[in-house]
């Protein structure tokens, strides 16, 4: 049984703004019956009031969280200009509902995409820009552009997370190496210019700090976050790195082992062999 929040249950059992708008200014449509969920979003703009969204309605085929996400979205956009509405992320939709189970995050992504599709429709584009790109996941028809985007926007680091957020890789699994390739490419691209020429013999304090920060972001935090934990860099004094753990790492009795093995090893590998890691209790 899914662990839905009370708010998800409420928005599923009593969905707000179900229906159609006959003279809608914008209609967005995403999903397909083969995929198991689909959403049609209608927006009506108030021309006298700075083109703010005066009414929003939806129709959804899908599970409890798909219906709840769509309904939440209609409430969130009400009264906003299209420019303001455009800033809503899938995480905002999930947050509005008090969170979604990880496997159901794709429902919030569907909401976000329906909104983009509606805005594109209003502005006269044929389709939202996400429709472009080459198909990576053949089972669900998901493109590299879309995968790259959910990876970047939600800071995803594993194939499983990508599947949860956009379904890619949830069918025959043959595209898993390609998805991993996209994840690697996204995160490599952003850190490579500074990270690759690692381990210079003598480095300035500024350079050392920079490398420590990058290594933590790239190689350490994603690993901790996979187990529901996280860490902060508190200070660097000479060759001693002070860190503090959060989430499950903080409560975990084995965190000192993690601290020594993962954090120190990674920092020594990418920054300098002389580093020592100390834990600070915050």
């Amino acid at each position: 049984m899914w662990d839905y929040t009370d708010k998800v249950k409420d928005y599923f059992l009593h969905p707000r703004n179900v229906g159609e708008i006959k003279d809608a200014d914008a209609v967005g449509e995403v999903g397909a019956i083969a995929c198991g969920d689909a959403l049609r979003l209608y927006l009506k703009l108030d021309k006298k009031n700075g083109n703010r969204i005066a009414d929003a309605k939806f129709k959804t085929f899908g599970c409890g969280s798909a219906i709840a996400s769509a309904s939440a979205l209609t409430e969130m956009v009400m009264g906003k200009t299209l420019e303001e509405a455009e800033k809503i992320t899938n995480q905002d939709i999930a947050d509005f509902l008090g969170g979604l189970p990880p496997e159901k995050m794709h429902c919030s992504v569907m909401g976000k995409e329906a909104l983009e599709s509606a805005i594109a429709n209003y502005r006269g584009y044929k389709a939202a820009p996400t429709e472009e790109g080459a198909i990576v996941c053949k089972c669900f028809g998901i493109t590299d552009v879309k995968i790259e985007r959910v990876v970047r926007e939600n800071r995803l680091t594993t194939v499983e997370q990508v599947t949860n957020y956009c379904k890619a890789g949830g069918g025959c699994k043959s595209c898993h190496p390609d998805i991993q390739g996209i994840i690697d490419k996204v995160w490599e691209k952003e850190v490579k210019p500074v990270a690759v020429p690692a381990k210079p013999r003598k480095m300035s304090n500024l350079r050392k700090m920079q490398l420590i920060q990058e290594t933590i972001e790239r190689d350490i935090r994603p690993v901790l976050m996979m187990d529901g934990g996280d860490m902060d860099l508190i200070d660097v004094d000479g060759n001693t790195v002070y860190v503090s753990f959060r989430g499950s790492c903080a409560e975990c009795a084995g965190s000192r082992v993690t601290l020594k093995s993962t954090v120190e090893a990674k920092l020594r590998e990418f920054v300098t062999e002389e580093l020592v890691v100390e834990e600070v209790n915050q």
Partner: protein
């Protein structure tokens, strides 16, 4: 208490009150170890063998052919791995695409670890083609493992014919009979099956106990190694209370077996016919005749299964679905996909599985609640036009 109508008996069943009653002393005063030398523990050995007789009697086996396990999954693992280990020279296994994950995932694991696996397909009714089985058999085929009745659709396979084919070729035949035991009469004395798995909690015994039938003379090596329990075929101190419960549940199943074909079947048919007649966008998944008496799997086209389940749950009805959203795998049930059920229907499939504890009043309650639930989801759906078209066509056919 909130109303509860439990029609998810292929998932698990309530423990029969008589079985619970029989178990209780073994949690309290009779806590000994059956392997002990003293009478306090040793007397339980006899009780376990009585339970073994009760299980054997339900399936027409001799008690020496029964070993107790921790449940259906262990029985399947023990049968399959035990057969392979006893016949190390042969490396080919035949199974089907619609097995329970306990068999399917094990076979897929074996396929990556030195074995070749042939998965037989099924037709749109969920039936096997025995010619395909004939064609799949090779000189190095060591094991055929095929279920008796499908847990999702209830469709029954011709296991005696399969056993006959296996016997002629000298291949061991293991049958996952977990959904069949207690619902269909079995007589291992006359059967062609070499091994069958059964699970306690599918027949009103508690969870965490099951049994494996191994025909006398069939080559088998134990899966669990350790002490000398179960005649050296399954190590581990016996789960005495649960084994006593399983024995009692099997005795009750034998007593109530005729009710499955009369009372339970009648209730299932009533539920199925009323739902299919009332809801014009519904269809039956699986062969109408070759089926367990307690199971019906109905698809509501263009309506999503998890949403139906959640609304059924609101009125206290417990069922299950083959929809992608409930499986956690994003794709609808592997059984419905193997049958080629269209996506429009697979995502909206609901399984109702009854037991002898269900009543006519409960069936009427379910039948009364389905139309408003489907109507409500239809109103939310962007496919309402498609549903209406489908309903018009169905109405014209009637």
């Amino acid at each position: 208490m909130k109303k509860l109508v439990y029609v998810d008996n292929n998932a698990t069943t309530r423990v029969a009150p008589e079985a619970l009653e029989a178990m209780l002393p073994y949690f309290t005063e009779l806590y000994g170890n059956p392997s002990s030398m003293h009478t306090f523990g040793g007397q339980l050995y006899k009780k376990i063998n009585q339970a073994r007789e009760q299980v054997a009697s339900l399936i027409g086996a001799s008690p020496q052919e029964i070993i107790f396990t921790s449940g259906g999954t262990e029985s399947d693992n023990a049968a399959i791995r035990g057969t392979l280990e006893a016949n190390p020279d042969k490396k080919h296994i035949i199974t089907t695409r619609v097995e329970h994950p306990a068999v399917l995932n094990l076979c897929q694991y074996l396929a990556q670890n030195g074995y070749e696996v042939t998965e037989l397909g099924v037709d749109s009714q969920g039936l096997l083609d025995l010619d395909e089985l004939h064609g799949a058999i090779r000189d190095d085929t060591v094991l055929i493992t095929i279920m008796y009745a499908n847990n999702e659709t209830g469709v029954i396979f011709p296991v005696e014919e399969i056993g006959q084919i296996a016997r002629e070729k000298g291949i061991t035949f293991h049958c996952d009979a977990i959904q069949a035991v207690g619902k269909l009469p079995l007589d291992m004395g006359k059967s062609t099956m070499d091994m069958i798995s059964l699970s306690g909690h599918k027949l009103h015994a508690p969870k965490g106990v099951g049994a494996l039938y191994i025909r006398k003379g069939v080559r088998f090596k134990p899966f669990m190694l350790g002490g000398h329990h179960e005649n050296n075929r399954r190590a581990g101190t016996e789960n005495v209370p649960s084994i006593i419960g399983l024995g009692m549940a099997c005795e009750l199943a034998r007593k109530y077996l005729p009710e499955e074909q009369t009372k339970v079947r009648k209730l299932r048919d009533k539920l199925e016919n009323l739902v299919l007649n009332q809801m014009l966008n519904s269809r039956l998944n699986g062969h109408k005749i070759l089926r367990l008496p307690n199971t019906t799997n109905i698809s509501f086209e263009y309506v999503e299964g998890e949403a139906i389940l959640l609304l059924l749950n609101e009125v206290g009805i417990c069922a299950s679905s083959g929809s992608a959203c409930t499986s956690g795998s994003l794709e609808p049930s592997h059984v419905l996909r193997a049958m080629g059920v269209p996506f429009t229907a697979a995502h909206g499939s609901i399984r109702f599985s009854l037991s002898r504890y269900n009543t006519e009043e409960e069936v009427n309650y379910i039948v009364g609640h389905i139309p408003p639930i489907i109507r409500r989801l239809k109103e939310i759906s962007p496919y309402s036009a498609e549903i209406e078209e489908l309903e018009l066509k169905a109405a014209a056919r009637k």
